[in-house]
Amino acid sequence: MAYKSPIEDTQFILENLLPPHNKLDNSTIYAVLEEAGKLADNFLAPLNHFGDKNNPILRQDHEVETPKGFSNAFSEIAKGGWIGVASDANYEGMGLPLRMGAAINEYWHGANMSFSLCSLLTQGLIDAFTLIGTEEEKKLYLPKFNSGIWTGTMNLTENQSGTDLATIRTKAEYDGKNWRIRGQKIYITYGEHDMSENIIHLVLARAEGAPEGIKGISTFIVPKFLKNKDGKYTKRNDLKCVSIEHKMGIKASPTAVMLYGEEEGAIGYMLGEEGRGIEYMFIMMNRARFDVGLQGMAISEAARQKALEYANMRIQGTPINREKGTPIIGHGDIKRLLLSMRSLTEAMRALILVSSEIMERSHNGDTNASLQEAFLIPIIKGWSTELAQEITSNGVQIHGGMGFIEETGAAQYMRDARILPIYEGTNAIQANDFMFRKTLRDNGEAAKLFLTQMNLDCNDNPQITKMIKLTSSTLDYILNNRDDQELLSCICFDYLMGFGYLVGGWLMHKAKIKANIKLSNNPKNEIFLKSKIVSADFYNLHILPRISTHLEIVKNGANIVKLTKDSYI
C-alpha cells in the first residue's frame, strides 16, 4: 500500500476543532480534500522514491532537468488550480481560506516533499506580492503563479550569510533605467528547473550606497526570462545556475547555486521600498515557517503509514499472549512506537490546522489573533520538525534491518525530514525567537493567555493541569532571569519543546472530547473515533511527561551550559 492522504483526520479536525467558515460547508470540504488526496496519492506519491534515486541533472547549458514525470505532475497540479488554492480570487486565485490550503499542502508534502517544495515556494511568492506588490505587479505575477505557469524562489543565503542575513553582499546598482543585480546565492531551492515557463527569483541584495547591516538590504524581483519586444517572456536575463548540490535528503528538489550578473548584470525590479528587505522577509516568514512545520507533520504521517503497513505484515517471533504467526504489530514495543507516531502526528496536524484558522483571522486584521499567531509560529516550526526526526527515525526502527535498506523508502523519509530543522531559520533560531521575541518582549503576556485558555479547556484532565502549573512556574523563572540573556539562550530550546508538547496535549484533549460526543451518536466511523480517543489517552500518559523533563532542564540546566568554557566542550 502506498501513501494515502489522511482525509478522515483532516476532516475531523476541520469540523471539530475549528470554528466553521462561511464559505465552506462540510460537503465542500470533503469534495476538495478527496480530489486533492487523489492527486497526491496517484500522481505525486509514485514519484517520491523515483525522484530520490533519479536526481535532477544540471546540463551544460545551465538548465536543470527534474526527474522524469515531475514536470507532468506539476502541470496536473497547476492546471487543477491547486497552487492558488488560498490566494486572492481577484488575481485568479481560488480564494479559499488558509485552512484549506494547509489541509491540502499536507497531502502534497506527505506524498512527495521534494516535489512539493516548488509549489510551496511559489505560494511564498504569492504571499509576498499580495502583501507588498504594487497593483501592476499583482496583476502581472499573481495569475501566473496561481496557474503555475511561472514559479518562484527565495534567494537569501550566501556563503557567509546563512542565519545572519546582515552580511549579505549581493549588490544592486541602478543604471539609470534598471537595477542590475550582481552576486552569488547558494542553496536556492528550485532555483533552476524545467517545470514552468519562467522562474521568478526574489533576491535579497544591497542597493549601491546602502548602509551596512540589515537596514541596507532590499528585495528584488529577478525573472529568469524578461519580456521581449513581441511581448513574450523569452529574453534571457543575466543569471544562471552554476551547480546543484548533492544532498542527504530531498534529493529530487534541485538546490542551486545561482550566479547573478556575470556579464551586464541581471535586471531586477525592486519589490516594495528600498532598505525594507529584511522587514518584508519577516512578514512572509510566518507563513514560510508555518509551511515547514507542516512539512514535518506531513512526512511524519507518511513515515507512520509505511511503518504501520510493515508492522502488519512482518512476522518475527510470537508476540506475548498472541497466536503464532501474529505480525510484529503484536509486540508491545512496536505497538508503543506506532502509537507514539500516531498520537504525535495527530497532535501536530491539530496544531497546524487550528493555527491556520488563527492566521486567517490575523490576516483579516484581528490583533489578538496576530499575537497568537506570532506565539505559535516558532512552536509549529521548531516543535513539529523536531518531532519529525523522532517519528521518521522510529519509522526506520520498526522496519528493523529493512529500515536501513533504501528499498523500503523508510530511510528516505528520515533523510528527507532532516532538512526541516535547518532551513527557514534553524530550530535554534526558532527557540531564540520563542524565548526572546515571543515570550520576553511582552513580559510573558501571550504565554500566559495560552496557559489560561488551556487551563479552562482542560480542567477535567489532571495530567494536563499539572503540566500547565509546571509551565507557569517555569515561565516565572524565565521572567525572573530575563536580564541574563546568555543563560536563557542555553535552555530556550527546552522551553520551546516543553511548550510545544503542552499545546499538543491541549488540542488532543479537545479532540477527545469531540470524539466522545460523536461516539454517543451511533457514528459510521466508530473505529476512527475510538482511535482518536486512544491517541489522546496515549498522549496523556506517554507524551505529556516529556514536558516535565524539558522544563526541569530549563530550571536547572542553564548554568552548566553557560558557565562551561569552550575548551571543555
Binding site: 465542500t28 469534495a31 476538495v32 491547486w82 466511523n525 473505529i527
Partner: protein
C-alpha cells in the same frame, strides 16, 4: 445533443470488501465509497464529446440513498452540467435501475446514454443492455473508441477476439470499457462550481414504475480460499490429476 450518464456509488476499488456477519450482503459501514470507475470513464467520454462541440449538455443521474448525491456531485465537479437524483432506499436490481433510467431518458429527450459496462460491486454487466432493450435503442457495449458524426456513432468494441467496429444510429446506448479514456481529475474551480449546479430530485412515485424486487439474495459468502498447491513429479501424474481429480479434461 443531450447525453445522460448514469453513475453508481460503489465501494471504493481500494477497499477490501468484507461479507456481513449475517451473510445478507457486504459490509458498508466504515467503508469508503466512490464513483464506479467505469462510470468515471463514461462521464469523461461525455465531457469530451461536449468539449468537441458534439454534445450540448451532459446530465449525470444516480439512483439510491441520499448519499448517492455525492457521486452526482463528483460528476458535476468533473464537468457535467446538471444532475438527477432518484431516491430509492431499498436494494436495487439492474432491471429496476434500467426502468427508471429509461423512463427519465424519454422525459429528458436524451440522444445518447453512456454508462459503465458494469459496476465493480456486483459485476452484473446488465443495466446498459436492459436500457437499450426497454427503449428499443441500439447498443454498443464495451466501447474502447467512440466517434460521432451526425446521428451515427462509430464504436470500437472490446471483444474476445480483438476489436469489433460497429455503427449505430442515435439515440443509442454505449457502455464503456477501461481503455476508452483516462478520466480527468476534477479541478478546484470545477469542484467549487459543482456546488452551485442543480441536482433535480425526481420522486420515484412520479415515475409510476414497479420497483418490486424480482431477485432474492439467499446468502453472500467469501470466495473459498485457495488451497496450497502440490508439485507433481511427472506429466503423466499431472494428466491423471487433471482428468480424474479436477475433471477438467
Amino acid at each position: 445533443m443531450k447525453i445522460l450518464v448514469p453513475v453508481k456509488r460503489v465501494v471504493d476499488y481500494n477497499v477490501k470488501v468484507r461479507v456481513k456477519n449475517d451473510q445478507s450482503g457486504i459490509e458498508l459501514d466504515n467503508v469508503k465509497m466512490s464513483m464506479n470507475p467505469f462510470d468515471e470513464i463514461a462521464v469523461e467520454e461525455a465531457l469530451r464529446l461536449k468539449e468537441k462541440g458534439i454534445a450540448s449538455e451532459v446530465i449525470a443521474i444516480s439512483i439510491g440513498v441520499t448519499q448517492v448525491q455525492e457521486t452526482i456531485r463528483n460528476a458535476l465537479a468533473m464537468g457535467a452540467d446538471s444532475g438527477i437524483f432518484v431516491e430509492v432506499k431499498d436494494t436495487l436490481e439492474p432491471l429496476t435501475v434500467a426502468k427508471i433510467i429509461a423512463s427519465i431518458a424519454k422525459k429528458e429527450n436524451i440522444d445518447l446514454m453512456i454508462l459503465g459496462k458494469q459496476a465493480i460491486d456486483d459485476d452484473m454487466n446488465a443495466t446498459g443492455q436492459m436500457i437499450s432493450a426497454l427503449l428499443n435503442w441500439p447498443q454498443a457495449t464495451f466501447a474502447s473508441k467512440v466517434e460521432i458524426t451526425d446521428k451515427i456513432a462509430k464504436v470500437s468494441r472490446e471483444v474476445d477476439g480483438g476489436t469489433e467496429n460497429i455503427e449505430i444510429t442515435l439515440p443509442a446506448v454505449i457502455t464503456t470499457d477501461l481503455r476508452l479514456n483516462e478520466p480527468r481529475y476534477a479541478s478546484l474551480p470545477n469542484i467549487m462550481k459543482a456546488k452551485k449546479k442543480t441536482i433535480n430530485e425526481i420522486k420515484i412515485d412520479d415515475l409510476k414504475i414497479d420497483i418490486t424486487q424480482k431477485l432474492e439474495t439467499l446468502k453472500v459468502e467469501e470466495p473459498s480460499k485457495r488451497e496450497a498447491g502440490i508439485m507433481v513429479k511427472t506429466v503423466k501424474e499431472l494428466f491423471d490429476k487433471l482428468q480424474n481429480e479436477a475433471k477438467v479434461i
